[in-house]
Subunit: 111 residues, 2 copies
Amino acid sequence: MSGDGRGATFEPPYFAAIFTSEMSDDTAGYDAMADRMVELAAQQPGFLGVESARDGIGITVSYWRDLASIAAWRANVEHAAAQRQGMAQWYRRYRLRIARVERDWQFERRQ
Amino acid sequence: MSGDGRGATFEPPYFAAIFTSEMSDDTAGYDAMADRMVELAAQQPGFLGVESARDGIGITVSYWRDLASIAAWRANVEHAAAQRQGMAQWYRRYRLRIARVERDWQFERRQ
């Protein structure tokens, strides 16, 4: 899965939620939930973008205007239900880090 | 590719270098370079860990004690050569974000 927001430019400072996870053996329903969470996150105030890859471990980094936006997203009712199911079923382990993006650089190849 | 450092605990604040990339069509030599860069990064002062996944886009998040450690790693001669080859050959685009990790949480399933 890859997310949108790759090419977006937003001025630092902004915030990143770095979510890294290892799956359990019971992944039934996971992909649909993950797609739905990306769709739902994109509707939240302060959402800037998301990038995601899974390859042994999963890494999803979502970008937000401020900490209040992240707190509101974590408390979203549908998201909170997904978090509970994640702990009960899908994830063997995860880590969530909240970070303040202070600088960024980008490179894009000339065609 | 998945990295080490997943289970490591380090107290915030610390720093994350969030590197997201899309490959070009010319990936010859890339995997060997990527493995070497993980090995080399782990030898640098201030290195705390790295997590990486590629799946459409690549996301590598490395963790560092402070900004000076990241600056030194970016300037490392062998790393700088890899960066130049990345722009010349391997990457269609990339973005590097430097972020200050302010909080983290982890979950691990009881066996």
